[in-house]
Symmetry: C2
Subunit: 632 residues, 2 copies
């Protein structure tokens, strides 16, 4: 966290100074906005927090509920989401209050006595094998609270407009604000009133029954399966010994996915309600909670649940649907998109793989910086077409994974030949539910050809995997990736050649180019009047120990002057070499060339390019294809 460079900050440093539209932000939704976010779920709230980092953009977020979410909904948080929370500045707080999934246990019929269940296996959770972030359970309401805090603390000071419903929209062919959006107040003094707001862009984050999706004529394709599940958040007395461990329970009476929740007492249970008759017509959704609890007890036999409190419950039929495109442009059209769909508005599936909230947040993360780039003039509108192109395949993968997982979970005991196969599947596919398997295809913002062999551990199109390094100025061990906050900036990591901080090194030559050359992206795409690192955060990582690096003598691009005080930023230079507290070497951990390598990382933390230190033309060309000249 860096602050005090605009003068002394006495209060919470997480609250950034208001800027742009964040200064005197009107309580009333303006008649014209740049971005209108519809819905304040995980995708919408992340998007609001991200847009708050672009304070010259007028962003509003409307939510038909009359206040914050109180109950229910998603609770599974994959490591990639915790990584994302870190970028938004609240990972440590949500980790402190969440349930950490350390284990997953599998229960099945006792072979000796099949009406009883027994523990068949224990599986250590995969999270810490895959990254430095845990696998958590915490209510969606708290995730939204933290994003709301980040949105309000950002320079744009964005807060949801509650009690406002989306009614419809029309895209006009011209005008600065071509989207005509009808809204209705559904709570408060103005309840029942309608009004029109003109917008440049609309993000439909309005859930499975998305009105935005309907308004742009997109269809949700897929099936509603014939299998029903009850879900309940309960506080109980029980003799079931794994009440505080995540379990898949398979018995003759049916299946339960059991997920302990934050706070040490509550658990969520997904209870198999069996096949739904073809003529059921959703009557299964009326199943009373007493019947669900009775069925849970049948499955858990010989253990007993004595339910003391039902915090929330619901019944649903498993559906797997994905929208064909996540924006409003017909295939093959050259028009730039104006309306986007995120989260449940474009992909719905079972809750049991614990994926929905996570994938939805990544939708928002993917879209936010692109809207910010276009609306601040950094990038052409065409950038926005990459949103649907990148996120629709991810949603399709999610549907496929979830269909397989929920089918496995819903089997009858006699269908299970190997009692270990569910555990095996769970571990074998760990990268997917961790959120780290997403790999974006080549495009204007992911290089098609690159020198991947110079940085084998930073695969193109996948999210940047962090490793510990030493901050050269103070000798503290920090995670390189955690320095990258969700501030809408690109990161260019210059991993140095072996020469170290010498004027005749390959890194020094690269630094001179990026600092002074006309085609340097820093010079070409950073508008005059902004800080040198306002668009590109350029960092150096040397191979030496921090003790051998004089940070006052590194190339000037690695010590830009910041803030209204115009003082040196001491946090651009890192050391990979060993020191008292650091036994990790990022060059080894990530397979980086000892001749140096440049790794370009997008604002949403995905690796966009890998180049040699001499490939300056290629670096310039990469940015030129999706960024506008800004003249500096």
């Amino acid at each position: 966290m860096q602050f005090h460079h605009n003068g002394y900050v006495s209060g919470d440093p997480r609250v950034q100074p208001a800027a742009g539209t964040g200064i005197d932000r009107p309580a009333e939704i303006p008649d014209e906005v740049d971005v209108l976010i519809v819905g304040s779920g995980p995708a919408g709230m992340l998007l609001a927090a991200q847009m708050s980092q672009f304070p010259t953009v007028v962003t509003r977020i409307v939510e038909k509920r009359d206040g914050r979410l109180v109950l229910g909904q998603a609770d599974g948080i994959q490591p990639r989401s915790v990584e994302t929370f870190q970028a938004f500045g609240f990972a440590e707080r949500i980790v402190a209050e969440a349930y950490n999934i350390g284990w997953m246990n599998f229960w099945g019929p006792d072979p000796e006595n099949p009406q009883n269940i027994v523990r068949r296996s224990r599986t250590a959770d995969y999270a810490y094998d895959i990254s430095e972030f845990p696998h958590l359970i915490v209510n969606q309401a708290r995730v939204l609270d933290y994003f709301a805090e980040a949105a309000a603390a950002g320079p744009g000071r964005i807060a949801p407009d509650y009690g406002v419903e989306f009614v419809g929209l029309i895209r006009h062919e011209s005008g600065d604000h071509p989207l005509e959006v009808r809204l209705r107040y559904v709570a408060g003094e103005r309840a029942g009133q309608e009004r029109v707001v003109r917008a440049k862009y609309v993000a439909g984050c309005d859930g499975a029954r998305s009105g935005v999706r309907d308004a742009i004529g997109r269809r949700h394709l897929g099936d509603v399966s014939a299998h029903a599940w009850g879900v309940m958040d309960v506080v109980v007395e029980t003799d079931f010994p794994d009440w505080r461990i995540k379990c898949a329970i398979n018995s003759e009476a049916g299946n339960i996915l059991h997920i302990p929740r934050e706070g040490g007492y509550l658990s969520r249970m997904y209870i198999d309600l069996g096949e739904v008759a073809a003529d059921d017509d959703h009557r299964v959704r009326q199943t009373p909670i007493e019947q669900i609890i009775r069925h849970a007890n049948e499955i858990l036999h010989p253990y007993v649940l004595d339910v003391k409190d039902v915090a929330w419950h619901s019944v649903y039929e498993v559906g797997h649907r994905v929208t064909d495109r996540f924006d409003d442009i017909p295939d093959g059209s050259a028009l730039a998109p104006r309306v986007f769909l995120t989260g449940d508005a474009c992909h719905t599936h079972s809750a049991k793989a614990g994926q929905g909230m996570n994938v939805s947040m990544q939708d928002g993360f993917n879209l936010g910086w692109k809207l910010g780039s276009v609306l601040t003039g950094r990038s052409p509108e065409s950038l926005l077409a990459t949103y649907s192109a990148e996120r629709q395949p991810v949603a399709q993968q999610l549907i496929d994974f979830d269909r397989e997982w929920s089918t496995l979970m819903a089997r009858k005991p006699e269908e299970i030949s190997d009692p270990e196969d569910l555990a095996a599947y769970y571990l074998a596919t760990a990268e997917f539910p961790s959120g780290f398997m997403t790999q974006y295809a080549p495009s204007a913002i992911v290089a098609g050809t690159a020198r991947q062999e110079l940085a084998a551990g930073f695969p193109l199109g996948k999210r940047f995997t962090s490793s510990p390094v030493v901050l050269a100025s103070d000798g503290n061990v920090v995670h390189l990736g955690h320095h990258a906050r969700a501030d809408g900036r690109w990161r260019i990591y210059a991993f140095a050649d072996a020469e170290g901080p010498r004027d005749d090194s390959a890194l020094a030559a690269w630094a001179r180019w990026i600092e002074t050359a006309d085609d340097s992206p820093v010079r070409r795409h950073t508008p005059d009047g902004l800080a040198l690192d306002a668009v590109f955060d350029v960092k150096a990582v040397y191979q030496q120990s921090f003790e051998d690096i004089d940070v006052t003598a590194v190339p000037a691009v690695f010590r830009p002057r910041n803030g209204t005080l115009g003082v040196t930023d001491w946090e651009k230079v890192f050391a990979a070499g060993p020191s008292r507290w650091n036994d990790s070497d990022i060059f080894d951990e990530r397979g980086l060339s000892r001749d140096g390598v440049v790794v370009v990382v997008r604002p949403d933390q995905y690796v966009a390019h890998v180049l040699s230190l001499t490939a300056t033309e290629e670096l310039a060309a990469f940015f030129a294809q999706h960024m506008a000249p800004a003249g500096r």
Copy 2:
């Protein structure tokens, strides 16, 4: 963090349900209060946060300033303080915004060219060698903010009454509220008005010029030395390469203690202003900031500071004073104390060892639970005499340490025979500035004779050193000590014999006694109507792996029912054995007997007793000497 046992908690779980006086807490200070805290510095605010955990006690905290602290004051946070923050629930948040001291470098005159300074040595900071907590720098204002949050979020809902000054007090000989306290409003509409409040107890947390100290006739004993220091919080441009590392700088022109601050730009410098003439009459305190900056540049030669912003500065003469007693009772009197002094009100010294705020907070931590115990009827008034008896010697040690350290820091180069000796002293004494050297002498609340050999790593009278264990119910690795929150409760850790969870084990016999015996402290001292663990938090630690422990089958005292829902607490049973994520064994790490051992820990985290599992009579006798029978 445990919650949901009183029903579903939708919002921030750090906000506990209001109770007692926290329900409808009046804005106005009542005419009669139980505890009046004077001053909202580190000791006073910690005390307020602690008293908020005793919501039946009427506690108010008055502060003459008209609002929160904005600038200046202390900034050094020792590991023991971070441990304390953990107990109050905000360690992870303050760590995220603080500067972490990884290193301390020592600079001295260049032997070749003595008018220039050179780096003489680097010393890795001791914090992580000593505990799991870091050594931080963060402004006192933020520490107070977090304690204010904890005080407001506790059941007592305590908030400071700003703009209220202490005028004087009289102790009457009788009455329920024998202290007659005069207060004056110094801000707001009522500025200038005086009023009288009657209190049972007063805590003087009102700083070096304490009015409470004067009112009870205590004298501050010691000297003001003849050495003056300037202190400034500055943002600069500089070529000094260690600007972001803590440094002791010794040059021909004088001495600097340089301490980087949170946020990556600001640093604090203590600049030696030299000997003060006997007839100076504090004129040195008028030294202008320009002169201090000029002097800093002379000391740093050949490096240059170009100061861009002075956030705060001051000049002071080093004084070392300690009050003879920290309460209002004459030596040898049998009266119970009613008025207490904490922090700078009873110990003042130089700022350069970074100790003041830390020791002050421990004053508050020591006093808070004792006031809570007496005022809830758990303990006799005599308990309060232990406050001064325990804290006065700690203050004396602090004065002695600081006098030595500040003398070493103020030497001239020619007085330094070994340039490494400052570094050597810094490391050799690490336990003291870490805050872990305090060892309370035997008293009613620290056993005089104990089976120390059964738990060598938990020295009697020292603070309980945590180690990782596995929470048996969910298989997660947790720090045993971090489960102990600052909630005013005693902890009784029953480390099991090797038998594990069997009915014929020594632990099972002990558990039966503590659950059922008439002389069991849990039965004798926990009032009827309160939860079984309201006064004593009894935890078991087995030697086995968590996989071999069925938490539904352990003795009932380790699975009490809690909250309005009356549901099992799943977080009383821990496992020391190896598992997938745990390679630590607390029995080995802390030298615990494999035949089992009982370790008693006070509400302020100090080890009070060590006993065998069969020494039940001794355990009963220990609590009987400082706790009242409550009848259960």
